[in-house]
Symmetry: C2
Subunit: 425 residues, 2 copies
């Protein structure tokens, strides 16, 4: 089969006609399918149902001298801090276990930069005329929403196959108004890119002009392989320390996509100096987070190996879904040459690049046929994808049969949008 | 028995001698007793152990179309919002159910005033030269810590027997730099004062110069009678609305002292306009809080009557402890006339006023004999009790026998400090 670029106008017309006809058939089915958010599916939720009804003997709620049913221990249940320390390869003293959402901890760290300043801030960010933040893109829309909420100026950094474009980053951080950068180092959202060791090393060795440059290291998918074995990752805290930047980085993780989304446990990790500083600020905010939920997680997993084993069960559910997405794209779209995509082995998304100027149209066509996708542009700062090309596919939530249907609709939409463009419709 | 003011110097000397001797005996016992924080005791924690091991069938985690095990529903599980709405007498639409700590929600509302401004703020508070906040005192130290953390100027308002000194408040709010006020309207911390209907009405009818005046209504002890039946309270949201101040107030509550401290459920309530504004800001912060814990609470209580019934069980544990405190003071201190105290019927504290200039000394004497009390001055802004008189007694945590011992030590300390003063020692 020739690519669209090798076809005659008649052939393109014919392809457009058949795709449109099939699309109209789908539309008539009144579908209601959702590939919009990185939500685990029901089968994945069920994997943690034992934790839902885990028996906790009141005699075992006191651990390490801390009563999990009562106030206290701002930094979290010691056993849960140990669990995250082991999982992330950091020191116990560097772990603060909080509530159910790492997103909230990220928001809080940035909010504190604004209201109080960070450890090395010459001034609170609220006092500054401008705060610029580096946003590798395609990226996670909720990171960008935080930046937008605080009125930051976001600077888009191309996300290459080994991580952010570090030539560009190293140039930009010479500007003292550039105050930080988002990173999802493993199975980036949405590309599924794993930062290379070289890239991580260049990040750790940055020499930003801002003394309070904030590296937001969102290790959201640190153990989220759905194909192959667990791949170890660099301890970014240690890498930054060795590079003379011990206080530059905050690392975040959670069990939202390990146990229950929104009812899991989150943490942040940072240098001990940062921790002392943050602990003092956090002490004004809360007495302690939910240590009973932390205890449930400790009992459910035991240790890091328990987490890794549990992730194998998620992988068994997720792999077939990613196969449906990738196989359908391979079959329907690849021969035509009208889109490219990453083939991730972990994380929650497939990042699709349509022909330039087609992503919004694809999104609209999907929507009209009852298939909800993440908004076109959402993976870029200000929802502004300069090429109008990127779409995020989230295969985890729908059951396999619905996903297969949704992918058929998506592929028809990709074809129609491309052909509309080629035929100047 | 004569009061100290009717005694001769010899009698005072004799009393001092006997109190000192008994104090030294206590000291020699090497006690380790804690009356410092409003923490429920173990017997109270046990009252909620059924919730710890509540069976939740995975088939019932989806309620009102919301799956509690998955992301979503920023404002909380509908059933839990209904529960708080019933309990607080507000509308469902006015309730936002969050994480485990109402303190964190209070912090967040104030943080947002700084970083984004409130609904009617001419400017973000971070841009202002000065923010003044009214602090009825004696009051809750953690409220004052929040103010201090944000660099507010705290203004102490005397807390009278019916609530804050409203003559003073009504005068001060003419200053547009006065941006808000803390209130614990029922069983105030630490005095146990219940604001009178007249005071609540005057508060609701305030006409502050600041258009974004923020009434922080911390209804922490809304159902926390330990003596007598549940006493209904005014719906402050409705009172403010009727007074033409619909957006002036945020009300806060939690189950920290109903189920498990630090592992309960918290909420804030506000006008629907405020809610629309806050919801948009909060959306940048978190996807959703722990709905499984919210579900546990809904199952455990059923409805507001279930909460009230549960509080009766807390009362049965707490009443004897408050009796120990009040009876010991009545017996040991009242005849001497060297201190006064409130006799609360709810809440968590007994507020004790020593002779002027004695509170720090009493605290020190207690500490040296192994009895930990909340720091003297902690109940005032900047930890500065102008009379050095107020001490907060928290009877809930120690078992009855330890509490009785601790109260003996405290009474000896009160006597010694008073006599030192009277004898110019």
């Amino acid at each position: 089969m020739p690519t669209v670029f090798e076809m005659s106008r008649e052939e393109l017309q014919e392809l457009y006609g058949s795709a449109s006809a099939r699309y109209e058939e789908c539309k008539a089915m009144g579908l209601k399918l959702d590939m919009s958010r990185g939500k685990p599916g029901l089968e994945q939720l069920a994997l943690s149902d034992d934790m839902l009804n885990m028996f906790i003997d009141p005699s075992e709620t006191k651990m390490d001298g801390v009563e999990a049913r009562n106030y206290g221990e701002l930094m979290g249940l010691p056993a849960c801090r140990r669990l995250f320390a082991e999982l992330l390869g950091v020191k116990y003293e560097q772990v603060f276990v909080g509530g159910s959402a790492s997103l909230e901890m990220m928001y809080d760290v940035i909010a504190k930069a604004y209201t109080h300043g960070l450890l090395h801030s010459p001034e609170k960010w609220a006092k500054l005329d401008r705060v610029k933040f580096l946003c590798p893109a395609p990226g996670y829309d909720r990171h960008f929403t935080i930046c937008e909420s605080f009125g930051m100026e976001m600077i888009t950094i191309p996300l290459l196959e080994n991580g952010p474009d570090m030539d560009m980053v190293e140039e930009l951080i010479k500007d003292p108004e550039v105050k930080g950068m988002w990173c999802v180092p493993k199975y980036s959202n949405p590309d599924g890119v794993v930062f290379s060791e070289e890239t991580v090393s260049r990040i750790a060795n940055m020499k930003p002009a801002a003394p309070d440059f904030l590296l937001m290291w969102d290790n959201a998918y640190c153990v989220h392989e759905f194909e192959g074995s667990f791949i170890p990752f660099v301890n970014i805290l240690e890498a930054c320390r060795l590079a003379g930047n011990p206080d530059m980085v905050f690392e975040f993780a959670s069990t939202s996509k390990i146990t229950f989304p929104g009812a899991g446990v989150s943490c942040f990790c940072c240098s001990e100096d940062n921790m002392a500083y943050m602990k003092k600020l956090w002490n004004a905010q809360i007495i302690s987070y939910d240590k009973l939920n932390q205890l449930r997680h400790v009992k459910f997993f035991g240790n890091a190996a328990g987490v890794i084993a549990h992730m194998k069960r998620h992988a068994a559910v997720l792999k077939p879904k990613f196969d449906i997405v990738l196989d359908t794209l391979e079959e329907e779209i690849a021969p035509l040459g009208i889109a490219t995509w990453h083939k991730p082995t972990g994380g929650y998304f497939v990042s699709l690049n349509t022909m330039e100027g087609c992503a919004k149209r694809v999104h609209q066509l999907c929507k009209e046929a009852g298939v909800v996708m993440t908004g076109a542009g959402a993976t870029f700062p200000y929802k502004n994808d300069p090429k109008d090309s990127n779409l995020r596919i989230a295969p985890s939530f729908p059951p396999c049969d619905e996903l297969a249907q949704a992918m058929q609709v998506l592929c028809l939409a990709i074809k129609i949008a491309a052909l509309e463009k080629l035929l100047n419709k």
